[in-house]
Amino acid sequence: MSKPSQSSLGRTARLLDLVPYLASHQGIALSHLAQDFSVTEPEMIADLTTLWMCGLPGYTPLELMDLSFESGFVTIRNASTLSNPRRLSEEEMIALLLGLDLVIESLPSEREDLRVIAADLVARLSSRVSVPTKLSAKPSTPGSVRAVIQDLLQKRGALEILYHSSYSDTVTSRVVTPIEFREENNFEYLWAFCQRAGGFRSFRLDRIQSAQLSQMPTYEPESPVQDKAATISYTLRAHSRPRQIMERFGIDKSDFAGDLPAASFSYEWIRRSILACSGSVELVQPASVRALILHSGRAILERYKAG
């Protein structure tokens, strides 16, 4: 995110927005005000000083805006001309519309009431922007799961989740103590202490099938938590479809030449991923996983020959 603008246009926009904000937040502390507009206190004082010189033509004390901010609290009077907030720019509307779309999809199913209110807001905003219904953001996680986890994160409670591990292709029930949400490669993960594994694990949110409060005691980490997942080094050789290989194995484009070194924390993931490239890629190392892939390939072939 870029810093709020210090250009004259950026500052003019801020001053125009500052007046209605002050009018609706009379007596706000200068420090809060600076924070709300993401500027420093001296920058905010400079803004207020400029505003002080503005008003209706005539520019006598009767026409100028009346600001007081000497005691560290800011009030404004005589500013009715500018006291309505400005209309939203297209980009602001787009941001809100995409955000609302995500909120609607994230609401738990029993909150149909809020969904209706949010959908009405979308309709009201869309009618004012020239890109209606062109915007859409879908969360990958069901709202009910997210709401429960969010709630327990605040309460620091233990959580019982039904989790689908795609590597082992199994659904297991686990009791975890949620620590935080993390983001990686466009996916959201829950970073949590897993009692079953006896350590910290990350769970991809869209693979958590259900979540509920657990009666089990929570685990309190004593020291800052480090991710200590063991990594397995392996080497690939691409034969076709390089973009797919690059994306699936998380290899940087600039490194894409010759034999490709990579790392994972699961043999099972490596085996399945190589199979799922259906001949586009070859595993060079480690030999043990190479043998597993050969074995899997033969087992699949046998099934088709038999069927």
């Binding site: 125009l16 904000y21 005539g58 001309t81 609302l100 890109v131 292709d169 659904v171 973009r243 088709y304």
Partner: protein
């Protein structure tokens, strides 16, 4: 610089407060800050008008009396200046706040925050208690995201270099129609100029800056265009029949159209986009799945498995 800002604010106030159109001379005489020769004032005023327009403040040009050819004047219509969402409730403000917060650290963060400031200025307190604890996040960090959304709203062509399947960068120019997420990836759809056809691009495969061009701007977006529907339609092009082992292949089970119990196995039907992506998905699941139909795909799959074996003996 402060002088210019003061002048812009004073001009806005004067043009908003006036009921009648103000002529340039009235503006120069009454609004503080217009100094110098007639030409200098004129230039200053033209620049100020452009600046305010860039801030989304629309200045109207008109005259008092259409019957007389008197000098045209200027004003800002309050209804065009002010935010108009009708009456708004605390719950609505809270929902809009959540929508804005979803951008934290992502592409449109700053616009979301400035929108929120305007909404908070409406004098209605956010009723957070009305909402369940949610904090959905939009994970749009691609540098081109903001350029693309702005281009869609301005109907401007965009150009970028795009990674092809064979990892070659190809320059593409499109009239962007829509941007949307699907399965955790952002897509932009639009009419590809050189191919003269609709194309969809995944944002993370764009490997250059996204540039806009006014050339060919102002194109029409079909009002019923829906990117997600067109993506979904593409993916439902074909149907395959697959046996899956009970308790396995959850990803495929979740995506299935129908499930039939066959004892140790279940038989499902599933949509797929193209043969290769279905074969990839089937092979991820190893011998827990067995493709039944279509037959041609079965032959192709067997060939692919033979390739895997040949590569790893």
């Amino acid at each position: 610089m402060s002088r210019k800002i003061e002048r812009l604010i004073n001009l806005t106030i004067a043009l908003l407060a006036t009921k009648r159109y103000l002529t340039k001379n009235q503006i120069f005489a009454s609004v503080e800050g217009y100094e110098g020769s007639a030409e200098a004032k004129e230039r200053m005023f033209e620049r100020d008008k452009d600046d305010l327009r860039n801030l989304g403040v629309a200045i109207e040009l008109g005259s008092f009396d259409p019957l007389f050819e008197d000098e045209a004047g200027y004003r800002i219509a309050p209804e065009g200046y002010a935010l108009d969402l009708g009456a708004i409730t605390g719950t609505e403000i809270a929902l809009l706040s959540l929508a804005a917060e979803a951008w934290k650290g992502a592409a449109l963060d700053q616009s979301a925050q400035s929108a929120l400031t305007k909404l908070r200025s409406m004098g209605v307190d956010s009723d957070l208690d009305a909402l369940p604890a949610l904090a959905p996040r939009l994970m749009a960090t691609h540098a081109g995201f903001q350029v693309i959304t702005t281009a869609i709203s301005k109907r401007e062509r965009i150009s970028f270099s795009y990674l092809s399947e064979s990892l070659k960068s190809e320059l593409r120019t499109i009239e962007p129609y829509a941007i949307a997420t699907k399965a955790s990836h952002w897509y932009v759809a639009g009419r590809d100029i050189s191919k003269s056809a609709m194309r969809t691009f995944r944002l993370d495969r764009i490997d250059s800056e996204v540039t806009t061009s006014k050339n060919g701007s102002g194109y029409e977006i079909p009002p019923d265009f829906d990117l997600l529907a067109s993506l979904a339609l593409e993916q439902s092009a074909h149907i395959a029949r697959v046996d899956i082992r009970k308790g396995k292949a959850h990803l495929m089970r979740n995506a299935s159209l129908s499930i039939e119990d066959k004892g140790e196995w279940d038989q499902i039907t599933i949509n797929y986009l193209d043969s290769r992506s279905l074969i990839d998905l089937l092979l991820w699941h190893g011998d827990d799945v067995l493709l039944i139909a279509p037959e041609s795909l079965r032959m192709e799959l067997i060939d692919r498995v033979q390739e895997i074996i040949d590569l790893h003996v």
